[in-house]
């Protein structure tokens, strides 16, 4: 029988240039849709932050003036929209660059003319002034200095900052040390109950931590850790560990056994092998769990609110809470400024560690 391979192929001769044009158009349309979607979903997340920052730097005590906020919005929205449109129109790298440069230049110019002159640092009064509550109240009511008092007794914001740093940093160090050791052991050694332990690590993470708040309060009271930062730190470590161990185990799984065997035959002890050969392979994982632990500690609110009482133990979240409690009705600019101050460190940390966090999915969560 003769095989007529090619007969069908010859029938479907294509108009290549029309197909190419359609493919190009489709690519752009898809790109535009994708960017549009990303902008749409990130707007509700990012806009409040934008407002917070703008209010923190523009609002004045005693006035409810949102003009600057609207001006800033009037610059931001066309800027984002312009970038979105241009990203689908521009084709060459050169076009992209000049297009974005032009749009950015216009936005910056508008910002300098319309917004910049009205920005000020007055709302950051709390940074150097413990008694800021009374001061803004005086400004608001127009009373003389020393006449108004009775607000909350605030500690220095730097004390709260240091407490937060201690809580988050200490927690991070403990979690990183335990999780890397436990993750290594789970990854490399066979022992009774290993599979059950791995499963329970995930289950542990599924429980809402708030349900434990009463028993934890009692335990804290019994062991004398109530109203101590160390107590909250240990509670947080307990809740953070399962996930961190699981992540670290995934990273250790990706380190080949042969490397360890090599190190052992090269004369290293098990401990030396772990420290000098295995750990350097999982630094990305270590950075990832450290950043998450730190930010978890930095944002911690429920436990510090429940277990810490004395204001020398306040963390930034408690400080923020009481500022809102005391001042919000009087000066939302100041509350926003505290928010910016509270947000800045974790934002910086995220930006610095970004590329390591993204690798967490690669390092892999695998059984």
């Amino acid at each position: 029988m003769e095989v007529t391979f090619g007969a069908l192929r010859d029938q479907i001769q294509k108009p290549w240039d029309r197909l190419a044009a359609r493919a190009r158009w489709m690519r752009r349309a898809k790109l535009a849709a994708m960017y549009g979607f990303l902008i749409a979903v990130s707007a509700p997340v990012l806009l409040p932050y934008f407002w917070m920052v703008t209010v923190a730097f523009s609002s004045k005590t005693g006035t409810v003036d949102t003009l600057i906020l609207w001006r800033a919005m009037a610059i931001l929205l066309p800027f984002v929209f312009g970038c979105w449109i241009w990203s689908t129109i521009g084709t060459t790298a050169r076009q992209m660059f000049f297009g974005f440069a032009a749009i950015t230049a216009v936005a910056v110019a508008a910002f300098v003319i319309l917004v910049l002159p009205d920005l000020h640092l007055g709302n950051f009064i709390f940074i150097g002034e413990r008694n800021f509550g009374d001061i803004v109240r005086e400004t608001r009511t127009g009373s003389k200095k020393g006449e108004v008092s009775g607000g909350i007794d605030f500690p220095s914001v730097w004390l709260a900052f240091a407490n937060s740093l201690y809580l988050a940093g200490g927690q991070t160090i403990i979690v990183a040390v335990i999780a890397s050791l436990a993750g290594y052991y789970l990854s490399r050694f066979e022992f009774a109950g290993r599979a059950a332990m791995l499963r329970s690590l995930l289950v542990l993470h599924a429980f809402p931590v708030l349900t434990l708040i009463v028993p934890l309060f009692l335990i804290m009271n019994f062991v004398g850790l109530l109203d101590q930062l160390l107590g909250v730190m240990l509670v947080l470590v307990g809740f953070e560990l399962p996930f961190a161990i699981f992540i670290m185990k995934g990273f250790f799984d990706a380190v080949p056994w042969e490397i360890e065997m090599s190190a052992l035959t090269d004369g290293a002890s098990r401990r030396q092998t772990f420290v000098r050969v295995v750990l350097p392979q999982v630094t990305n994982g270590l950075i990832a769990i450290s950043v998450f632990s730190f930010i978890r500690g930095w944002e911690e609110y429920i436990f510090v609110f429940t277990f810490l009482i004395d204001n020398v133990n306040w963390t930034m979240s408690l400080y923020m809470f009481f500022v809102r409690d005391d001042i919000l009705g009087i000066d939302f600019g100041l509350v926003s400024a505290v928010g910016v101050f509270y947000l800045a460190p974790s934002l910086v940390l995220y930006l610095v560690a970004q590329k390591y966090l993204a690798q967490m999915t690669i390092g892999g969560v695998k059984g």
């Binding site: 080949p256 042969e258 490397i259 065997m261 190190a263 052992l264 035959t265 004369g267 290293a268 002890s269």
Partner: protein, 355 residues
Amino acid sequence: MARIEFDRIRKTWGDVVAVDALTLTIDDGEFVSLLGPSGCGKSTTLLMLAGIYAPTEGNLRFDGQVVNDVEARDRNVGIVFQSYALYPHMSVRENILFPLRFKKVAESEARRRVEEVAKLVHVDELMGRRPGQLSGGQQQRVALARALVKEPQLLLLDEPLSNLDATLRMTMRAEIKALQAKLGVTTILVTHDQIEATTMADRIVCMRAGRIEQVGTPDDLYLRPTSLFVAGFIGAPPINLLPGEAADGKLVINGFALTCEGSVAGDVTLGIRPESVYFADAGIRATVDQIEPMGRETLYRVNCPLGSITVLEGGSTFHRRIGDVAMLRFDLGDTLVFDRRTERLVKGAGAQLSD
């Protein structure tokens, strides 16, 4: 340098027997290959030598001393893995230097030795690079340098050439062999590739399912295999194995009777290497089914009364076409007869065409 003795070594993982009744002596300076299919226990054996695993039973001796419980780091064994297992966060120099960090070697002396061994394996130009920036062949050389820098008494090579391309593999084969001869270090090569084993090693230990099947020179294994397994495993293209029945000086295969020599009876398998079958003016009538020109020689798959067999003919040109009819012969001395029940060679037995 060391003389290695395995004394009835057995290694089990729960119910699974990885290595059993392994008794073998490897002389000082010898180059021995452990050859076998995957799962035959050769890698386990290697890791027992390195000190990563301890034998379940039996004794492992270096120079007459039992080392069963001596830790890996105290054995001074150099090992090169298939994946090379270089330390990715260290430069080539640091990689080679690493083993010396755990020995009492002065820093300047260590540096000098690193340079020396790097020159020996031709990686002295790459010292500042990271393993990730090297090609497979270069990584392999660095791994070799790292294994040699501590002047090991035993060098272990675990499938060291499997990840290289064909040309490089040939170069490295020759280089490793020359290096071993020059340094005189006792070397054990683990491989599933018979070419690697036969080209490099002085002696080959063929393993199967945790046991030694045959020990011998490359020649021994190729020409005088003692079992069906070794005969089938060694040689590419593989040996023709033709099952038949022997009785009264006749060997009947597929209804075709050959004259049989030696004390042969019952179910047997006749083994003939492809190059031992040749085209002649008279013999068994065969039809050419397939032709594979391989350059130096041509492999024919032919159909004959014995069944489908392969014939290797020397010479770069081939004269036959698919469908051609030709006559085949082979000689008594080139045939091997195996007892199919015990899978062992029947010594002194052979078969030839009846005249």
